[in-house]
């Protein structure tokens, strides 16, 4: 996966894939490919979510610490 992709793009692509798959307008062969791709994207997104959550929690935790320090 190219690094340039962001979460939104990933999700967008994923949703497009899901939509394609659901419409059964693709063949099994492609399907497999698509599923593979979707899996990749899901993995990526999940990773991003986890990373974001971690980051955000870290930020907020620091804030909370600040607060504690202040108090």
């Amino acid at each position: 996966m190219k690094k340039e992709i962001n979460y939104t793009q990933a999700i967008t692509e994923l949703e497009a894939i899901v939509s394609e798959i659901e419409n059964a307008s693709i063949g099994v062969d492609e399907l497999s490919e698509k599923v593979k791709r979707a899996a990749e994207l899901i993995r990526y997104c999940r990773g991003r979510l986890t990373a974001t959550e971690k980051e955000v929690n870290s930020i907020l935790n620091n804030l909370g610490n600040d607060e504690n320090i202040q108090e």
């Binding site: 899901v18 798959i21 497999s32 599923v35 899996a39 997104c45 999940r46 979510l49 974001t52």
Partner: protein, 466 residues
């Protein structure tokens, strides 16, 4: 006497014959003396012989209706005079009515006469009294009686016309008493000589009274003064001519005739009557004393009253001045208190105002002190809330994303051919391409079938297509 009637046979008598005949007849018929009343019109006393031949008259209504000559021999005269004067206190004189015992005499030589041998003085006394009464009645009738009394006696009778005898004791008494008055009053006496009793007194006094009347402006009063000597011949003062002059005199007459019997008419009608000249002098001095007393009273009263007026005025003035000062001080004190009170009120109220402002200020200060903390606390709460919301919403957001992702993943998994294989399905491919409903493989076509467990290769030998 018959022959006298015959004209032819005329018998002529000598005068003497006739008078002798009358004398005999008188002796025969008038042998006894008679009580006769008559007025002595003239006394005709012959001092040398001592005999007296009074003219006796009988008047009716002023007219002489009888007149006879009287004879009083010296011895008789002496006795008669003594008897008369002792009873009547009046001298035996002309002009009086007497009742006498007399022989009616006729003498060839002297004619008719009455030889008086005795007298009844009581008769004369009565006559005098009657005359006095007549005088009084006449004066009253003529309105003269009180006239002199009604004259105002000068307060200070100092210019005095004195009718008196200069040598008389009465005048001397008067003069000495007046001159020796202790108060030094000055009297001025002007002497008018007169007979003061007996015959001639009336005329004498009247003449002097008239003389005084002619210069009445020079005198304050007329004094008729008589003192010492006997008290006979006082009936002159009952005489109408004299009494009426006194009564009608234009200036007050003061009498001091000095006697012990009844008041004479002149004394009655005089403005003032005193018994003695000394009493007259005392009266005059008394007038002065009275005047002096009045002056003294006035002077004393003047002093007392003037001082009283001054004292009263002074008291009133003192009271007004004191009251003024008191009232002014009171007013000033009240105003001072008022002013001071206003000053105190200002101080109190200013302090109260400042105090109130301080309280208001401290209330604002409290507001300022507590307000910010509340605002800050509210703000702090809000931030905390926002902080919490970020946390909550972030979690929710991430969870949503994860859920969505999981959902998508599920979907993808469901559609994954692998999973189809697992359920017993297989995929048949022709020439590497999966056969779908439209595929029309020809017999002999080599097919590749993928199953879960691997690939199966086969060749088409028949086909059953709809």
């Amino acid at each position: 006497m018959e022959q006298a009637h015959s004209q032819s046979e005329r018998q002529v008598y000598s005068l003497f014959d006739i008078t002798e005949s009358i004398t005999r007849m008188f002796r025969k018929h008038y042998a006894m003396p008679f009580w006769i009343r008559a007025e002595i019109s003239k006394l005709n006393l012959y001092p040398h012989s001592g005999h007296c031949y009074p003219d006796l008259v009988d008047r009716q209504q002023g007219k002489v209706r009888a007149q006879v000559r009287g004879i009083i021999w010296r011895d008789d005269l002496f006795e008669i005079t003594r008897k008369f004067e002792s009873v009547t206190r009046e001298s035996f004189r002309e002009g009086i009515n007497i009742m006498f015992l007399a022989y009616v005499r006729f003498s060839s030589e002297y004619g008719l006469s009455l030889q008086i041998i005795d007298i009844e003085p009581l008769f004369t006394l009565g006559e005098l009294a009657r005359e006095k009464l007549l005088t009084i009645e006449r004066l009253k009738k003529e309105g003269l009686f009180n006239q002199n009394k009604l004259l105002e006696m000068p307060l200070l009778p100092s210019r005095l016309a004195v009718i008196s005898a200069e040598t008389s004791k009465g005048y001397s008494d008067l003069r000495v008493t007046l001159e020796n008055n202790v108060s030094g009053y000055r009297f001025h006496l002007t002497m008018f000589h007169a007979l003061l009793q007996g015959d001639g007194a009336v005329e004498s006094i009247r003449r002097q009274l008239l003389a005084i009347q002619a210069q009445k402006h020079l005198f304050d009063a007329v004094l008729i003064i008589r003192g010492g000597g006997d008290e006979t011949g006082m009936s002159c003062y009952d005489n109408y001519a004299l009494a009426s002059l006194v009564a009608g005199f234009p200036i007050p007459v003061i009498t001091g005739i000095g006697h012990s019997t009844n008041e004479t008419v002149a004394e009655m009608v005089a403005a003032i009557n005193k018994i003695t000249p000394t009493a007259v002098a005392h009266y005059l001095i008394g007038r002065f004393d009275e005047f002096s007393h009045r002056i003294g009273n006035a002077a004393a009263m003047l002093e007392v009253s003037a001082r009283l007026i001054l004292q009263t005025a002074s008291d009133r003035f003192a009271k007004a001045s004191e009251d003024f000062v008191d009232a002014a001080f009171e007013l000033i004190k009240n105003e001072q208190q008022h002013t001071d009170m206003l000053g105190r009120e200002i101080r109190d109220n200013v302090n109260a105002t400042v105090f109130n402002h301080r309280i208001a200020l401290s209330r604002y200060e409290t507001g300022i002190s507590t307000g910010p903390a509340r605002i800050l606390m509210q703000s702090d709460s809000k931030i905390a809330e926002l902080h919490r919301l970020v946390q909550v919403h972030k979690n929710h957001f991430i969870k949503q994303q994860i859920d969505q992702l999981n959902h998508t993943e599920g979907k993808v998994k469901l559609l994954d051919p692998v999973n189809v294989l697992k359920r017993g399905f297989s995929i048949t491919r022709l020439n590497g391409k999966a056969l779908n409903g439209n595929a029309k493989p020809a017999a002999g076509d080599e097919l590749e079938t993928e199953t879960l467990s691997g690939k199966i290769f086969s060749t088409v030998f028949n086909k059953e297509l709809s």
